[in-house]
């Protein structure tokens, strides 16, 4: 019994480690790509970051970023990459929930689902205003 449990734990940890690394590399590659497009289009413009303006950044929601990314504008591609980066640790929680489920550790399935639902409520914009 104990032996099989150890093996599952190790397998899960290795899988989680790979997922995290792949997520970071992929999202950073997208950010770099978006950054290059952004610089090609805007490099000569003047920056304006001295005063925070709520309306300055237009890509503020998951829906907006997903619908704009295919225009291949630099800012949209960067935001898409950043969103992927934000999703990476969230996907990690989801994977952990699944692996706890496989291990029949239902207490930790519940704990993981609580963490996920906290983030999901936040993702739906519930706390932003």
């Amino acid at each position: 019994m104990e032996q099989t449990k150890n093996i599952t734990d190790k397998d899960i940890q290795s899988l989680v480690g790979n997922l995290l690394r792949a997520g970071v590399y992929l999202s950073m590659a997208i950010v770099v790509l978006g950054g290059i497009i952004y610089l090609l289009d805007h490099s000569a413009e003047k920056i304006d970051y001295a005063v925070f303006d709520f309306n300055k950044v237009s890509l503020k929601t998951v829906e907006a970023i997903f619908s704009e990314v295919l225009t291949f504008k630099g800012a949209a591609v960067v935001q898409f990459g950043l969103l992927m980066l934000i999703f990476t640790p969230i996907a990690r929680v989801l994977m952990a929930v699944i692996s706890f489920f496989v291990e029949k550790d239902y207490l930790y399935v519940l704990i993981g689902l609580i963490v996920l639902s906290i983030i999901m409520v936040s993702l739906s914009g519930g706390f932003a205003h």
Binding site: G17, Y49, F52, K56, K60, P89, R92
Partner: protein, 278 residues
């Protein structure tokens, strides 16, 4: 300043922040925020948004390596993430209503505290007294490899650790930093974990915590692609190089020099915050 010049300066600055943050154990976020605000005149709201993104990138990147080594206690991480994510969202929401000057003052204080913590010699408080009912109920007691031998450890004061994590999460969300120093206090001093386990588990949780507050910042328009892009690229590359150098370098003197520099920055943040400069 043109977009190109700004991007290049931030890239270099973020690289240095990531590099020094990883060498000293302070983290990149606490350095990039003073650089952006004091150095380049960027509004602190944008600086915090960009910083929290870099926290996700660096902590997730290094967590990948730690998880594989079997040092991370996934159950402790998961359990305490309830506290840190609730705290992170709370902090990010408080930041909306709090005057930017106060945010800068709190930031300066945490900066001084964190840099002092990097100077303190780490003491292993781990224990084998399996007395905590909470630890047994939540199955938090574990084991980790020490020179190839699985060594068990017991976890204490689960409630105390949980509340300290709530506080650490709130500061993380409020200031856009990883607040690693506070997390280590919760796990080392309160819950009595061996510090290899606490460092890696806290790193593992940092990404999820930062993601929770990043989402709030995204909706608030604080994550500007023009700033977040060079910040996260620079910090991640800097931290990766730093981690490679760290294996070979003696960092004691560097830590002292760095603590002094960081304290000067912190005092400037506090002064500017109090005098209404933000």
């Amino acid at each position: 300043m043109s977009v190109l010049v700004f991007t290049l300066i931030v890239l270099v600055g973020a690289f240095l922040a990531g590099f020094l943050g990883s060498l000293t154990g302070l983290g990149g976020g606490v350095i990039i925020i003073p650089l952006l605000t004091l150095g380049l005149g960027v509004d602190i709201h944008y600086a915090i948004g960009a910083s929290i993104i870099s926290v996700i990138a660096t902590s997730t990147g290094s967590a990948a390596a730690y998880v594989k080594e079997g040092l991370t206690n996934m159950r402790i991480g998961m359990f305490l993430e309830i506290a840190t994510t609730v705290g992170a969202i709370l902090g990010a929401v408080i930041a909306v209503y709090l005057n930017a000057g106060y945010v800068a003052v709190i930031f300066g204080c945490i900066l001084i505290f964190s840099s002092l913590m990097t100077l303190k010699k780490k003491v292993d408080h781990s224990t084998l007294e399996y007395t905590s009912k909470g630890a047994r109920f939540f199955k938090l007691n574990g084991s980790y490899p020490v020179k190839g031998v699985e060594t068990p450890y017991a976890v204490k004061n689960v409630a105390g650790g949980f509340f300290m994590m709530l506080f650490a999460g709130t500061l993380s969300g409020l200031l856009g930093i990883g607040s690693g120093a506070l997390k280590v206090i919760a796990m080392d001093n309160i819950m009595r974990l061996p510090f290899k386990v606490s460092t890696t588990t806290s790193n593992f949780m940092m990404g999820v915590t930062a993601a929770a507050s990043a989402v709030v910042y995204l909706h608030r328009g604080q994550i500007d692609p023009g700033i977040a892009m060079p910040v996260c690229i620079g910090v991640l590359i800097g931290a990766t190089v730093g981690a490679k150098v760290l294996v070979r370098a003696k960092t004691d003197k560097l830590k002292i020099v760095f603590a002094v520099v960081v304290t000067i920055l912190a005092v400037q943040m506090i002064y500017k915050g109090l005098s209404g400069g933000f």
